[in-house]
């Protein structure tokens, strides 16, 4: 049962998020009536789920909200802002209710009563106006029509014999009719043949259904709309539902066993299951699938190596086939772990709206490319930093409306959240058109905090990058929103943790753009396997520009660590020296990697070749070793460290700087 509860919780929270999203859209597009419809439907599902799992409080609460939106969608009016606000706070309250296991405390109870009362009041006001103007529109689904409306429906429903084969369970349709009020259902089972001749996959039953009027005939027809050509259907309106409702059920003709009915139910259920187009899987299971696939890839590499040593034709064919299939399996498993960026962005709409209101700022938040997919593990690490960046943009970036007007900008500030895919990376950009970051201010602050010396020469870009250092906060006043001691250094660290990079661009008075570059997946990377002093290392292929034999170029100036390659001077680092290995070997090879926008050569002993590295974490002890981003197990069981080339270069420059200074 606990399992169901967890599912219920997950689903409910998703529905609440969906409703919030629609509400916010509604605020911006008041003319789009389909949104009220969407809200209504989501609420309806939420109510249904809650009732089904026995969460009466939530179900009742949602029921009122649902009725409110039912009225709105029926009346086809613009949803007033006041109602949206109430609904939003109701959603907050609901997620609180859904999340809390325990009995709500006093404040929650009070909030509950207050919101309920507000909603009921709106409904009653609506009812009055609706009755006054368009009485026909004022029906409410799920409730019995007033006594004076004595019309009732009689539906005769005789599905074709083969209806079950289409995956339709007629019982569900009849159940759907119960939505309109208490139904009287009479089943005609006279056509069911004797047990020997009975085909359990056929439907022999027809039904007479009586239920109160007050709903549109189209709504009734709608229920059957998918099978209209697969059944005989008569819908009549008959006066006085009461008398009909009271007719006793027809006696079941003798000799008919309830068995076929049960069978139908079962087969109906079966076909329904068959139609499920997506399933929910606990993420631990996905994780274990991924780690199994990784193991398989390692094993595959081992087999490949073995085959190379013992080249038998049959073995070669088997290895090749296995490789094809395991690659496909890997790609498939990967795609399962991808989730659209959308999931993370939805709560941001709310965040921007509330924060802007709190700070008296006018902000238009738009998103682009939210369908871009990203590994769920990366996504999990992304939520907090992104939230922080957005808060920064709202709090420090966008100015007050008056201030904006003074500097000749529209009163409403703009924040654009953009996600896109380029090469093997995913990019996420947060752009605002606020006041931008003043490098001069940063310089002053950095000198004041002792981060840089008075006479240090830094260009604007380097100055901007200072904000990512620990202990740097430019906000003149620490505010409630973004000055909680979590600075940009934490953001940067969190992004680095998921193997991402962060960049900042800013122009005074024009705005700030923050770009985050992320790998598509965390667990497998394409790399270049190299040897340094008999140890194996993997350099991520995404960082590699070119590689060539160092013998073919003159190691121009060993003192300056520069080589000339294709007419360019490229600084290089001898990884042998860097990693403390002794001795010099000839015929080394050079791997040129990209560092920022520059090229840097890494001198290695030997380039072995391309290698698909299954990244394994090195554990907590090596977390502070940032020149290594992980390790991978080679085909022969040896371990190769995966280098973070950016960090290797950075560390090299750092130690060089120190040695020059001291």
């Amino acid at each position: 049962m606990d399992n169901f509860k967890i599912k219920y919780k997950e689903e409910s929270l998703e529905l609440i998020a969906e409703i919030e999203k629609s509400l916010l859209l509604m605020e911006n597009n008041p003319d789009d009536f389909s949104l009220a419809e969407q809200v209504f439907r989501a609420m309806h599902t939420l109510k249904g789920n809650s009732a089904m799992f026995g969460f009466r409080t939530i179900a009742d609460f949602t029921h009122h909200l649902e009725s409110m939106y039912d009225l709105i969608r029926a009346a086809k009016i613009k949803t007033p802002v006041a109602i949206i606000n109430i609904t939003l706070s109701a959603m907050d309250h609901l997620s609180l209710l859904v999340n809390s296991e325990n009995i709500p405390d006093e404040t929650t109870k009070k909030a509950h009563e207050k919101i309920s009362a507000e909603v009921i009041e709106i409904i009653s006001r609506f009812d009055q106006t609706a009755h006054g103007n368009e009485p026909g529109q004022a029906y409410k689904a799920g409730t019995v029509v007033p006594e004076n409306n004595a019309m009732a429906y009689h539906v005769f429903f005789k599905p074709h014999k083969d209806i079950l084969l289409n995956g339709i369970n007629p019982l569900y349709l009849i159940e759907a009719l119960h939505e309109f009020g208490p139904c009287k259902v009479v089943a005609h089972t006279g056509d069911i043949p004797s047990l020997e001749e009975c085909d359990t996959a056929s439907c022999y039953t027809s039904w007479d259904i009586y239920f109160p009027g007050g709903v549109d005939v189209l709504a009734v027809r709608d229920i059957f709309c998918f099978i209209e050509d697969k059944c005989t259907l008569e819908i009549n309106q008959v006066p006085g539902h009461h008398s009909l409702m009271d007719t006793p059920a027809l006696p079941v003709s003798p000799g008919i066993l309830p068995l076929p009915e049960g069978d139908k139910e079962a087969s109906g259920l079966h076909t329904k299951k068959y139609r499920i187009s997506s399933i929910r899987v606990p993420s631990e299971r996905l994780d274990s699938l991924m780690s199994l696939v990784s193991e398989l890839m390692t094993l595959q590499a081992k087999l490949g190596m073995f085959t190379e040593q013992n080249s038998q034709l049959e073995l070669l064919a088997v290895t090749e086939n296995l490789e094809k299939i395991s690659t496909r399996l890997r790609d498939n498993a990967f795609s399962m772990c991808l989730v659209p960026v959308e999931n993370i962005v939805t709560p941001f709409h709310r965040l921007v709206r509330d924060l802007a209101a709190e700070l008296n700022k006018e902000i238009e938040f738009s998103t682009e490319g939210t369908e871009t997919e990203i590994d769920k593990n990366i996504m999990e690490g992304l939520s907090d930093p992104l939230m922080h960046l957005l808060r920064n943009s709202i709090d420090h970036g966008i100015e007050d409306p008056d201030e904006r007007e003074k500097s000749g900008k529209p009163r409403q500030g703009k924040i654009l959240f953009k996600a896109f895919c380029a090469g093997t990376s995913i990019y996420i950009e947060i752009q605002d058109d606020g006041k931008g970051i003043d490098p001069g201010k940063i310089k002053k602050k950095a000198i004041q905090k002792g981060i840089i010396g008075k006479d240090d020469l830094l260009n604007d870009k380097e100055l901007l990058n200072l904000i990512f250092l620990p202990g740097f906060s430019t906000a003149e006043q620490v505010s409630e929103i973004s000055g909680r001691g979590v600075g940009m250094d934490v953001v940067k660290r969190k992004i680095t943790d998921i193997r991402g990079q962060i960049k900042i661009n800013s122009a005074i008075n024009a705005g700030t753009t923050i770009t985050i570059k992320l790998p598509v997946t965390m667990s497998i990377i394409d790399g270049l396997l190299v040897k340094i002093n008999d140890d194996d290392f993997v350099i991520p292929l995404s960082a590699v520009d070119k590689c060539y034999e160092a013998a073919s170029v003159q190691l121009l100036n060993k003192l300056n660590n520069l080589v000339v390659f294709e007419g360019e001077q490229i600084p290089f680092i001898s990884l042998r020296e860097e990693f403390g290995a002794e001795g010099i070997i000839s015929d080394q090879e050079m791997v040129i990697v990209n560092y920022d926008e520059k090229k840097v050569g890494l001198l290695v002993d030997r380039v072995v070749g391309k290698f698909q590295a299954v990244l394994k974490p090195l554990g907590k002890h090596f977390q502070q070793m940032d020149n290594i981003s992980g390790a991978t197990i080679l085909g022969d069981g040896k371990i190769a460290m995966v280098l973070d080339t950016n960090k290797v270069v950075e560390q090299f420059l750092y130690t060089k700087n120190l040695s020059i200074c001291s």
Binding site: E578, K616, I633
Partner: protein, 153 residues
């Protein structure tokens, strides 16, 4: 007759001539020494990593932690795989020791608090002194000795 109560089993090992003990609850297995993949520029305490059945196991140099000079591995050198808990999650580490001795039982009343003076290393590394026959063994607090936080100190 003495009723034996609250006894615990300990694995003893040697560093130089000193005998240390670790509660067996913390010990997962004992491996023969094997080639260790070094991590470039790592502190000497962090010897490197080994492949433990498809997983990466960090290997730490216990001698280094206790300020003893590095010696070449011998046939007795072992890697003791420990399950240490640092904060939230359990963590597997391998600790290199000169030689593994035996598993002994020490009654609780025979464990005395560590003397606050006269030991060469941090007090928090030692849980207590266990009396075995006439000698004392130092019972290690492995969570502290091999914690990730202490690796860089």
């Amino acid at each position: 007759m003495l009723i034996k109560e609250h006894t615990a089993s300990f694995l003893t090992f040697k560093l130089d001539n000193e005998v240390f003990a670790i509660n067996v609850d913390k010990v997962l297995e004992i491996l023969e020494i094997k080639p260790i993949t070094r991590a470039p520029k790592a502190p000497a305490f962090m010897k490197g990593v080994i492949n433990l059945r498809g997983n990466i196991l960090p290997v730490l140099d216990t001698r280094n932690k206790f300020g003893l000079a590095e010696i070449p591995f011998t046939i007795d050198t072992c890697i003791v795989v420990l399950n240490i808990s640092t904060g939230s999650e359990p963590l597997l580490v391998g600790a290199i020791v000169d030689s593994v001795q035996e598993v002994i039982e020490i009654a609780e009343e025979k464990i005395q608090p560590a003397p606050s003076i006269g030991i060469a290393f941090k007090e928090e590394f030692i849980k207590g002194m266990g009396k075995v026959e006439d000698a004392f063994v130092m019972i290690l607090n492995v969570d502290k000795v091999f914690s990730a936080e202490s690796a860089f100190n």
